[in-house]
Symmetry: D2
């Protein structure tokens, strides 16, 4: 039984991690870390957990936790994990960081986009980017995994096979993303109030969102070239779900079947990626509560572009589900353990 500790257990991603780990037969949560709610019963903070989780919240003490746990999940604000990381911790426990601290290999890029100093750059090289379908073998051997961002996971996986196979012109790639509001976290801010989000849609972080360099770096590895793209997130009045609509010019003439074959080449055996039937557009509701990524494409011969669409549950495949998938890989468990979640509809 893997002993798991969570730092930041009372955020939405932390809460989802609790939900998933409670259904995992080889893992057990031994630490519900939450600086804001120390000594308060976890089931009082999240009443859905009433009588399911009896433990109280503990402090964010990573050193102590490293002694007790086999794996530490950090679902914390940017900078926190980097500020606590030490060789001593990694020597004792594996760490899966749900923040951005170890996602970007170039520390200067990280510091520019996040506007903070990285406190432990010495671990960046070792950290494995935890996009399971892409880096599976490296993840198996990792001590420190940088769990990808929610927008990033969806954006990358949707375009990855076409980038890898040189089907699309990377210089033309535009990603228009739409997210449910849980991505904004549980902080009490006016723009996230019900009445401000409901019956409303807006773009935000235009040409400046922090997930941009992460997407560019990873798709750059796939395409083996430096990539600069436009990424525009939008806030949608729903709790969960990310949909990306990606546009790129085709580098050669291809049919839908050609493209489908490329996706099949990379994802044909992937349990959590579903390439939909021709003509069916992904919808976030169809993956809600599950670890699936639903993908499809449409070729527009009029404009010589391909429109790629992908949908995930931002709290599952975009955060907690992928973290558990990473844990499974790191501990040699079946990759889908605890993740055989059937999407809930309606």
């Amino acid at each position: 039984m893997i002993k798991a500790g969570i730092i930041g257990a009372t955020g939405y991603a932390g809460g989802e991690l609790v939900r998933l780990l409670l259904g995992h037969k080889d893992a057990k949560i031994i630490w519900y870390g939450s600086r804001s709610y120390i000594d308060r019963k976890y089931g009082d903070v999240y009443q859905n957990m009433f009588q399911i989780v009896d433990e109280k919240c503990l402090d964010d003490n990573m050193e102590e936790l490293a002694k007790q746990a086999d794996v530490i999940f950090t679902a914390t604000p940017q900078g926190f994990c980097a500020s606590m990381m030490k060789e001593d911790i990694l020597a004792k426990a594996k760490v899966i960081d749900l923040s951005a601290d170890y996602r970007i290999k170039d520390v200067a890029v990280y510091e520019k986009w996040y506007g903070i100093e990285h406190k432990s750059p010495q671990f960046i090289e070792e950290a494995v980017y935890g996009l399971c379908e892409v880096n599976r073998e490296d993840i198996r051997k990792a001590r420190l995994v940088a769990n990808p961002g929610c927008y990033t996971t969806c954006s990358i996986l949707t375009a990855y096979p076409l980038a890898k196979e040189g089907i699309i012109d990377m210089g033309t790639l535009i990603i228009d993303a739409k997210s449910g509001t849980s991505g904004a976290g549980r902080g009490a801010k006016v723009p996230n109030l019900y009445c401000e989000v409901n019956e409303n849609i807006k773009a935000y972080g235009v040409a400046s969102h922090r997930h941009t360099p992460e997407i560019e770096e990873q798709l750059g590895y796939a395409a083996r070239e430096k990539v600069a793209l436009n990424f525009t997130p939008h806030l949608v009045p729903m709790n969960r779900g990310i949909l990306v609509t990606e546009y790129a010019s085709l580098k050669k003439e291809v049919t839908y079947e050609d493209v489908k074959a490329v996706y099949d080449k990379y994802y044909g055996n992937e349990r959590f990626i579903r390439f939909l039937d021709e003509g069916v557009c992904p919808e976030t509701k169809w993956v809600e509560g599950s670890n699936y990524v639903d993908i499809n494409v449409k070729i527009d011969s009029r404009t010589n572009r391909i429109i790629m669409m992908g949908a995930i549950d931002n709290l599952v495949k975009g955060a907690a589900g992928q973290a558990v998938q990473n844990m499974n890989l790191m501990f040699g468990l079946p990759e889908s353990e605890g993740l055989k979640l059937v999407p809930m509809f309606p």
Copy 2:
């Protein structure tokens, strides 16, 4: 492995039954019945099931199904199950009817409130009312279970201990219920369109909703008196969830602790009923996707009334979850098999 057939598998309750049975280790769906979608892939009707369910929809042939299945779930419009029922079917397979056909013992009451003739009244007496927490022992031995209505389940369980113990004046009982829109089914009707339901709340079926006599009958058994009450359903702009707020005058002076002790007496060992901490009001979101019933009460000494509140997920404890719970009882399985669902939040 129990072989389960579903008649009406493409309604919302049928879809939820599929979701739950897919996670049940001792049951297997062998028949996806749907007259409207015969020969269409189930995963095309409900895209969340894409690559999870590969079967096609079959006709609503209960006789054939009885030969192949151990248990038949009928998630069909009122009257259908009654019109098909025969001794021959029950001799071969157990039946769990999610419609109202066998819920009401007095066939005249059924025919009056539902406005249709009952086609097989000879089975009404045998049918067991499948409210697991109340009729557990009878359900274990049943061939035919009448799965309770969604409003009914929540309304009865919220008041049951107080009715049973004579704490409340049954003549004063008023039930104000609020339901998500999935309760209205998947039929294409203008009043259920997004734009009509969203940003709106209304009462409907005032003093005439069909779940009224079902609640009255069952609470009447508990209170050992004839009960006539007001039940008012409301349509709420959300997909899932039922909340009931029930009002009754107290027959004697009681404290919150007294009342809590009464609930503990009946529900203390119930896995799926959670009597919340004092002062915490049930919220539908806290039980979403799960089989829980969350209950609490508030005593108002100013008016000598008690306000009882209960929340369920209408598609789980109010339909498919309870049906699976009934199946577990009927087949001697652990009652919570396939139902260890942690509520999803947010």
Copy 3:
């Protein structure tokens, strides 16, 4: 042209007041008071007002405002208006207080339910309870109007004719109310975040909500007896709207036509009260954005109760619209000036 000043112009009720007064041909806003946003452009706080309102927010200086304005609206937290009120202010300007400070005649009741000391009880007697359809003549002559609460307006108007005419047993009156989230205000609190409210319904303030004594007092005047009732508010995932469902036992046998005649007697000439056709239940969406109150009833002969239903837009008839209606009365203008708003659907 009436010069109007608003204290608390950046709350939701204050914002609605701005919207309505901008469409009023005899009034002009000369003061956008908002302590939190002093010196910030109003149109930056509420971007819907961009290029419509060019003024900046000013401090909550009631004394200065009294010198400049003909009427002062206070859309402020409880206690603020009472703490600022002086004879000198009322001598210079009429005041319409949207808070609860002058609604309750018995200062002890106010202090008990609101938990604060009343700082200017000497004005309570003078203050007129601004429920226009009930107190029209007194309002015309008032200097200080206590604008009714949102729940209160809807609760009282829905039952008023039956209370007044002795049709219902006041001791049996139960009010189950449902409100959109704008009623909770624009404060940044976790329970009002989108993800907490969306897909959720709950009761709150059970047997303790502050609008209770206000409803009891006013319906007590109508019934000419002391009234104690149950009032239970619920939070509904929508921006605007209040629906009340009220239950009471009938004191005598009446038909729907009898009851309709009673409503017609009191409301037959009221522009803003619509008694719906028989069988039609009020829906909040049908009054959205308007000053209407939609009402209907259903008699349940089985239980000898009448179910009364009423719907308003909580920000219009429940706050800003009624405040404007009061202003019109106080200044001798046509009562509907600035309020000829057609409900917006969908």
Copy 4:
């Protein structure tokens, strides 16, 4: 007083037209046409109009209507208006067609994208494309106005000045659009049910939506070149509102100020177009219920692209509001008469 008749008065756009015309001081509705609801009271179909509109619905008799009315609005399915149009009608009444029948000058393009035969192509040339801010002078003189589509209005106005001034490379233009559900109409279809739309987002009509050729034609006139672009609509869980996010490569180096100056050149005097302050992204909620178009842009020097964003209320500026604006122009009234609507928030 202009006598206005509406064919298709019971659709959502027709209903909005009724709302707006009721507030128009120089127009009066004399015909509520609705084939589906003939002889039914309009206020029964749309209960928000109860006691406001007492008329009954009439048949879709355009010939008779032309005799009685000064202006006819057709808010009908594609093909209807074209099938009824005759010189005799236009000789008697002005016609504002809210369908697509006269929007596209090339009848072959119309017939290809809409899949129907055009029954009166002889009027296409005469018809004026009713985008008021672009074709104002022609509209003033028109007998037949083709009221633009909702997506189209928002898409064109957002990019128009940059297309006109040659700032953007038209071959790179991509429009990612998001719409509330009222755009789908009031037809009873499963995909528009509350439970299917709520908590969900999806693209649809990818590379095939019928508004594409309309946008291409109009932006082609502006850019004086043939334009082929990608237009992708998405369905968003909200009632009203369209947001477009448009991407194009810059043809020359420009600053935000340069671009703002271009928008000011074309829209500086436009009452209904608001170019927002730098850094402020349009949100649909800020224009809800009003005739405004909110626009802003962001230049991304990293990719040499400009991101243009625009927001409208699809039922107002995207349908009924623009139709009234056209009527005002055609009858020589002040352009904003009946349209001084302050957006409603929240």
